[in-house]
């Protein structure tokens, strides 16, 4: 049973460029969330996708956008890169959160993409 996968593993970009990161959820999961982890800090929630729509968003500017495909995989796009965008970007997946009736589901994380902006 494949876990959450992410690509690429590492990426170096120049300030002002655009980047696309990719995530495939764990088998049987249809909800994908993205997190940013700066050096020495805990991960920060960026947004979550369910049924190909952004359902919840954290405190990140519009330069951060995403997409979910019919096969539940997801992309994170960051435009106009800043030096401060250098971080580990983590993708997490979970089973459906559509109608939970107050229940929650365990989230599983991928290995991350380490982005360096120079």
């Amino acid at each position: 049973d494949a876990g959450v996968t992410q690509s690429p593993t590492h990426l170096i970009k120049t300030r002002g460029q655009q980047v696309t990161l990719r995530c495939s959820p764990k088998s049987g999961h249809d909800t994908v969330s993205w997190y940013q982890q700066a050096l020495g800090q805990g991960p920060q929630f960026i947004f979550q996708y369910y049924e190909e729509e952004e359902r919840q968003r954290g405190n990140f500017p519009d330069r951060f956008s995403g997409h979910q495909f019919p096969n539940y995989s997801s992309e994170l796009n960051v435009n106009a890169l800043l030096l401060g965008d250098s971080a580990l970007y983590l993708c997490a997946s979970s089973p459906t959160m559509g109608d939970r009736g107050g229940d929650s589901y365990e989230q599983y994380f991928g290995p991350g993409t380490r982005l360096t902006v120079t």
Binding site: T31, S33, Y35, Q37, Q41, G42, P43, Q44, F45, Q48, R55, Q56, G58, L88, L90, A92, M97, G102, D103, S104, Y105, E106, Q107, Y108, F109, P111, G112, R114
Partner: protein, 108 residues
């Protein structure tokens, strides 16, 4: 938003020692997870424990939801237990809020 505080920030142990990590949170939650982050950045699921007690080998965890805290116990620590331990909670809003982590160093 919900506040998550982890203590201690750093912990140095001799191999074979026991330890307790604490996570306090500021509001009621419907999800609490403990993770171990390895040196390559991978977050490894340790426990999904919104309430109650669970054990997995040398690790165990207890969450007292009514008092808004969770404890992670490491017994007979090994050098492979080194790394950063994160507590993360969800307050009915689909997103996990993480603490700052506890960095554990186990010395042989």
């Amino acid at each position: 938003g919900i506040q998550v505080e982890q203590s201690p920030p750093d912990l140095i142990l001799q191999e074979g020692a026991n330890s307790t990590l604490r996570c306090n949170f500021s509001d009621s939650v419907n999800n609490l997870q403990w993770f171990h982050q390895n040196p390559w950045g991978q977050l490894i699921n340790l426990f999904y424990i919104p309430s109650g007690t669970k054990q997995n080998g040398r690790l165990s965890a207890t969450t007292v939801a009514t008092e808004r805290y969770s404890l992670l116990y490491i017994s007979s620590s090994q050098t492979t237990d080194s790394g950063v331990y994160f507590c993360a909670v969800e307050r009915y809003d689909y997103k996990l809020s993480f603490g700052a982590g506890t960095t554990v160093t186990v010395r042989a």
